[in-house]
């Protein structure tokens, strides 16, 4: 059952991801990407990371993709404004990606030899557990993440703001 | 301590020049260089003529890298230090009739150059030697770049990169040897000697070539010489003098101090190749000198030929050869200085260096032409001039080494006569022309520079024994060390 669900979600994720790349309209790309994110969220649930799945949906689908859509609307990009790359380049891109896939997968050997150190107990992804790790062990990174976001915010404002001439 | 004084005094004077920018920088520099000369003379008088290193100073500098500020003087070093300290005041004096822009910078660079040159000759630490070696390059580069002639940008850059290329390879070899020294590694000369001799024949060959190329480019030995005629031609006269009269000796000194005792097997294996190259260079450069039209360029080629003989004689590894090289270095230094000065006097007054446009100067400038003749005779190694003593010893060592090579090297006395006489004839003899008709004879100040040179030419030519004695013991030391080592590995 779990395995079937995995296959289904994987198919949805990959299929949506491919459509992100190949769809003509940016808006549909965004929508396909949201589908892919939901599929990935499904995987998280499958792996007992329910909290993460929720955060994932909120951050990605809720915030990031909305931002994308907003910018697309703002710049009025929802048309085939993109000049096409030549077929040769597209072909080259596909070949490159294919080769990359082959070497990446080829180099990922040995995962089957890995023995789990502990039996998965399904407790890992709980809010309680994660919160404990986040606010004890990863306290400093957590604080730094705030600096990061602050920097991003300041930067985005600085760049995005149109200067009074 | 006097060694340290010799090194720090010019630097100090140069810094003062840079900062104070005195109006009469010429005089200031002259006085500074005379003080330096005095110090070196005091040193020469205190020097004991044996094979020890004297006036040695050894201060820890970069301990973690095994680098010490270790300097000292033996007979070989002393002669070259003297050459430097004698010539630098003369070079400065020779510039008195010129006004260089930003003269305090110019003279400051000359003094820094002097410091670096002396440093090269007294360094007893491999790294220190390298450091001074490179430091000598920088002031001369700027002297040529700022005050040089046409097209100097490209030419001086070629000169800089070419010589730097050689010395970097030398540095690689030095570091390689450094890691062969025992314990926590050191650049001390004796330790490097030990390390070098401990290498296999193949490794010694590699080190030999790495070092030799650096020295060969500096001297320069055929076929590493092509930077030289252009650079000599384009450099301001004082720069050319520094380059040819003193700096070139760095390469030869390097051979004596930093190559022959360092990798004896390499020297034995490859000595013949170098001698052959040098001998080819003698004939080759002489031939090219014959057809040169620019006097300065001609002298540049003649210098290659002379240096070729020195290098060849040196690599015979005999006491005669090395002693010949020593005396010839001094002789070549003063002769080439005088030659370039005369060329400068001529080109200053006639605004040309082309042989075809000169002629008849003898009619109007007898003193100059007499000095020219004397310098020319020294340069073609006529007996009782300084040139002969060295050339005789060198050719003798070469004949001993290999008769045919010696005979071919001996061609220098014929070819040298051909291009020198041709130069004299074209520039000095004949009827005056429009350019030379108003030529003025030597001024007092020019005489002050040239007369001591003339005297030196004859003194070295007639009574070289005291000079030979200075380096005798040190030379014998090298030869004995070498032959003892050569015997032991047989």
């Amino acid at each position: 059952m779990t395995l079937n669900l995995f296959y289904f979600l994987s198919f949805v994720a990959v299929f949506a991801a491919v459509l992100v790349v190949f769809s003509k309209s940016p808006v549909s790309s965004v929508l396909y990407l949201i589908i892919a994110f939901f599929a990935i969220a499904g995987h998280y649930v499958l792996m007992n990371a329910e909290f993460l799945a929720a955060v994932h949906v909120i951050v990605y689908a809720g915030a990031i993709m909305v931002l994308f859509l907003y910018v697309i609307m703002l710049l009025n990009l929802n048309k085939e404004s993109e000049p096409h790359k030549s077929n040769l380049l597209k072909f080259a891109a596909a070949i490159c990606a294919g080769l990359f896939m082959i070497v990446l997968v080829g180099s990922l050997k040995g995962a089957d030899t890995m023995i789990p150190q502990q039996v998965a107990n399904g407790q890992t992804g709980l809010v309680k557990n994660l919160g404990k790790i986040l606010f004890t062990e990863f306290l400093l990174p957590f604080e730094l993440a705030s600096i990061l976001l602050l920097a991003a915010m300041v930067g985005a404002v600085m760049l995005g703001k149109s200067e009074p001439k | 301590m006097i060694t340290v004084f010799l090194l720090t005094w010019p630097l100090l004077a140069a810094l003062l020049l840079f900062v104070l920018k005195p109006g009469n920088a010429k005089v200031f520099t002259l006085v500074a260089s005379l003080v330096e000369l005095l110090a070196s003379i005091i040193m020469a008088f205190q020097f004991v003529k044996d094979d020890t290193v004297q006036f040695a100073v050894n201060v820890n500098w970069i301990t973690s890298l095994g680098i010490n500020f270790s300097v000292g003087v033996d007979g070989i070093s002393l002669l070259l230090v003297l050459l430097t300290t004698v010539l630098v005041p003369l070079i400065i004096l020779s510039s008195f009739s010129k006004t260089y822009e930003k003269q305090s910078t110019f003279y400051g660079l000359v003094l820094i150059m002097q410091m670096a040159l002396i440093g090269v000759f007294v360094a007893l630490d491999g790294f220190l030697f390298y450091l001074f070696w490179e430091m000598a390059l920088i002031p001369i580069y700027f002297i040529c770049l700022i005050w040089g002639g046409e097209n100097r940008g490209v030419i001086t850059l070629k000169f800089f990169i070419y010589t730097l290329a050689g010395s970097l390879v030398m540095l690689v070899a030095l570091v390689y040897l450094y890691f062969q020294t025992p314990g926590s590694h050191t650049f001390d000369i004796q330790a490097l000697y030990q390390a070098g001799r401990g290498l296999s024949a193949y490794e010694q060959g590699l080190v030999f070539w790495a070092m030799f190329i650096a020295f060969a480019i500096k001297m320069p030995v055929f076929p590493f010489h092509t930077w030289q005629p252009d650079t000599y031609t384009t450099a301001p006269t004082q720069g050319t003098m520094l380059l040819s009269a003193i700096m070139l000796k760095m390469g030869i000194y390097g051979l004596i101090r930093w190559m022959i005792p360092l990798v004896p097997v390499g020297v034995m294996d490859w000595g013949l190749t170098v001698v052959v190259l040098s001998v080819i260079g003698i004939v080759y450069a002489s031939c090219i000198a014959i057809v040169q039209k620019d006097v300065k360029r001609l002298v540049a080629y003649s210098s290659i030929a002379h240096v070729g003989l020195i290098a060849a004689g040196l690599l015979t590894l005999t006491a005669t050869g090395i002693q010949g090289a020593m005396i010839q270095m001094l002789s070549h230094g003063i002769l080439v200085f005088a030659m370039f000065y005369i060329v400068d006097i001529i080109s200053d007054r006639t605004k040309t260096r082309s042989l075809a446009e000169l002629g008849g100067i003898r009619n109007v400038a007898p003193v100059l032409s007499t000095v020219f003749i004397i310098v020319m005779l020294g340069s073609v190694a006529l007996p009782i001039t300084s040139g002969f003593v060295g050339e005789f010893l060198l050719i003798r060592s070469l004949v001993e080494y290999h008769f045919i090579l010696g005979a071919v090297a001996g061609l220098t006395i014929i070819l040298g006569a051909i291009y020198m006489l041709r130069t004299f004839q074209k520039s000095m003899s004949g009827e005056t022309n429009a350019i030379t008709a108003t030529f003025a004879d030597l001024t007092q100040q020019e005489k002050i520079v040239l007369y001591p040179i003339v005297i030196l030419i004859f003194v070295i030519g007639i009574y070289p024994t005291p000079i030979l004695e200075i380096s005798e013991a040190a030379t014998a030391n090298i030869v004995n060390l070498f032959s003892a080592y050569a015997d032991s590995i047989k």
Binding site: L104, G110, E137, M158 | L65
Partner: protein, 460 residues
Amino acid sequence: MNALLIICGLGILSLVAEIANLKKWLTVFVMVGLVAAAGLIVLDWGTVRSYYSDMVLFDDFAVSFTALILVASFFWFWMSGDYFSNQPHKTDRSALILFAITGAICMVSFNNMAMLFLGIEILSISLYVLAGSNKESLNSNEAAFKYFIMGSFATGFLLMGIALIYGATGSFNITKIAAHISTHIDSLPGFFYTGVLLMLVGMTFKISAVPFHFWAPDVYAGSPTTITAFMSTVVKIAAFGAFYKIFSFCFNSVHSSWVLVIQIMTVLTLVIPNITAVYQNNIKRMLAYSSVGHVGYLLLVVVANTTGASGTILYYLTAYSIASLLAFTILHLLEGSGENNELETFNGLYKRNPWLASALTIAMLSLAGIPPLAGFFGKYMVFALALQQGYVELVLLAVGTSLVGVYYYFKVIVAMFFKDSSSTSIPLTLSSQLILAILVVLIFLLGLFPDWMITRLAIH
């Protein structure tokens, strides 16, 4: 650790300054803060302390790199005073720079992949913005855009690498990972090595080693000159510190799996940027290539993989940074008087401003590695290390490329001393004279007395 906090605090203070109307004194305040931070970090010298559940580890390596970053930042603030003054986003810029420095400190003191990652990102995101801070300029736009696209693309690889390594070792903690590697050296899964290599890609992108250097020349050339100076000094120190820490400390046991790649990259990094730089007529772009070229020499140390090499790297970076700062200061001064960065601008500078020209000459000589300047000793120690390990061919190649380097650095010198110019001389303020003098003196001091630094920094 306190230094990190101080810098963070300064960053936030900058933002507050906008409101609290402290703008005037901001730069001074920041500089004082930097000095204080540097002072505090130096006090930590000789101790090894980890903070916040082993997130950061301030050992001698971290302390010395942090100190260097702070000193470089100090000079950077000094030289680029007018980058902040009379600008609408003065406080924002200042804050971003300080955040970037925070990121940089994290990058050299991390003991956890999370810290490394966050450090890199804080630094990068601030820089993406700063590169584009000249909003009207298309060049600046392009620089920001290129940097951003390529940077985030490379981040993807870096993260994939971290993920795979996490999967193989079960930890993000550097010490634990290193311990795990050495105890399980024979039973590591294949994807661990993939992870190492992907991290290598991500990190070499940050240090801009060939073939992941393409962003560097364009971004350096397009960004405002002060930001270029920041990138080629502070950022480079941090990036290389992080790279060295990861690969020479953490992944040292699996040296053989990545050293070949690094060797190839070293060769490429020595050859390609140095040769490309020869044809550049824009000094800023030339310095960008040269900056990439210098990475090649640093990589040589990584290839040599000896213990105690961090001192060499630090020395090299110090020498390089000081010379770069000097060069960029002069570039910035020239820009300030309305001149551009083309080679022709430098024609006859010696006649116009002899001291300026001499200072730039010294910077160029040091960058080219001419004794007895600091740059020479940097190169020397690198070569010596590599020779000690028997990489003679690589050293000879490096010698060759440094000759090429001499060629392009000297092009500037030739232009200054040889060519003639009609422009007038540039008036120098006391402050800029002072910084030039200090930097020149530092170059000489470091060159003449390298022992002071080497013996203290021969870490591990």
